[in-house]
Amino acid sequence: MDRPTLLEVNDLKTRFHTAEGTIYAVNGISYILKEGETLAVVGESGCGKSVSVQSLLGLIPIPPGEIASGSAVYQDRDLLKMAEPELEKVRGKEIAMIFQDPMTSLNPVLTIGKQITESLEKHMKMNHDEAVRRAVELLEWVGLPDPARRLGDYPHQFSGGMRQRVMIAMALACGPTILIADEPTTALDVTIQAQIVELVKRLRQEVGMAMIWITHDLGVVAGLADRVIVMYAGFIVEEADVESLYEDPRHPYTLALLAALPRVDRRRHQRLMSIPGAPPNLLVAPHGCPFAPRCERVIERCQAENPSLEAVAPRHRIACWVDVQTGGPR
């Protein structure tokens, strides 16, 4: 699977300067997204998943936000250094995004037809009639029944799953090369989640786009992703192909996450594992391994030094001082 690189993120650091102090939201993450590849970003709430991708597209408010360092090279251009008008041409056209809550991410006072045609008219330079025709095709493509009639409907007239389909149609309207999905199934109930995941899989194949799929649901990741990044407190702690992550997790945090997953083959009445403690306070500048206070395998070195991301196997990197198989230092 050696495909050309599409997006290369290097040492991205995002901070927020608030009244209470500086929030260290993203602390130097690097990864590569290849063409047609699906990269899953997993982690707990508040670990910097959303901020890290919103930083790429210039969607974080500045101030209070600040991109402290890093680069994100997309087709020989650094997204982080682009001026706003240039970035507007990339957003929605080449890199599109869908959001967590389809209830709130559609504008309640505009018809969905208006919302879809808007970006078609802007990015694809279509006239209104062409854009309407294309919108109908798109809605049909994402499985919305009777699309021509429903173009004039407002978001509140759709169910949650249908609204997410509309969001997906909007995101795919201009044929993006990268689709960023920010927890697109979290706000939906389980049966709808499955439908949306299946839909995205089908569309991904038809369009051949790359995806960054942000989630905290490792169950969804297994069936969807090629590679997985596990984030904790603004750091990448493990990065691996999806098979090796599930078969051979090397970071204690990933192990704990997988242990917390409900499984069909587990004995009944057995309690689900949970990770004791809470994620670290991001107001404090990181010192030592951020996971150390909650880690079962913590050693002395963890308190003093933050491990950097190092390869432990081909295409498998972790940031940990410990070898989880022996319990001793690596």
């Binding site: 970035l87 995004m97 991410s105 559609l106 504008n107 006072v109 509140h156």
Partner: protein, 318 residues
Amino acid sequence: MATIRETAAAVPQFKVDELEGPPLTLRQLTWRRFRRHKMAMFGTVMLALLFVYSFGGALVFSEADANAVETAARLQPPSREHPFGTDTIGRDVLARTIYGGQISLIIGLTAMLVELVIGVLVGAAAGFYGGKLDAMLMRFTEAAFVIPQIFLLIVMSKFFGSSMPNISVLGRNFSGSVVVVILIIGVTSWMYLARIVRAEFISLKEREFVLAARATGTPARQIIFGHILPNSIAPIIVSATLAVAAAILAESYISFLGMGVQPPTATWGNMLEGAMNYIEEAWWFWFFPGVLIVLTVLSINFLGDGLRDALDPRSRAV
């Protein structure tokens, strides 16, 4: 004592269809709430009649009738020939209230538009961009608040009013002072609206759909006018409605003080001014323009109240 069966029989029977008709659109719901607001309906009907009176009346009486001087028939009480009587130089009060009404309503509406443009632009820019621009615009707004409006109105109309040439629009010849009055009222009353719009923008710009719009590459101008403004339209409509009433009143004040619209162009306000010395001798002279001002302002305020209730989605009334 009624049995359960009898009680049940008394409960009206609905078919499923009657209970679950097609869902009402936002517009239908708003209209339904508005329709049930009796005072608002009264205001709307009354306002429509006043428009018919002022603009339809012009089909019956020409402007020349309104300005025709007939000194022999001065200060005549209402009669068959002059239903609302005549004024000090024998002009027909009915015809003058019709043409004065046009001016008053036009001033009210256009001053509201001026106010709307300034208020929305200032409020939207301040609320959307925030930071230094917000601070600057809001200090400016507060400064504008501090100046008493009536005082400013009087000074400015005194200053500019007399130097304006007459203008003619739609075949009517207006005193140039009409334009001055419109601009002055607009320029002195946009501050409330700016604050309302700013508050709306500050809260709406944090909403997810704005982020989603930005993520599809929508430029800032389109987000402001195409996405956020439509969401804050309800409070804007309400305060714009009330602004019409305020503008009509403001025009009456300064015209009453003799500094607004200059004769011979009639307005309800300057008709009152002319009647001031004849309060006891010629009641018809002040009664009709006075009643028309009261009715107009009252109906617009009722209409505004009704719109506020109808457009508020949290309103309980169904």
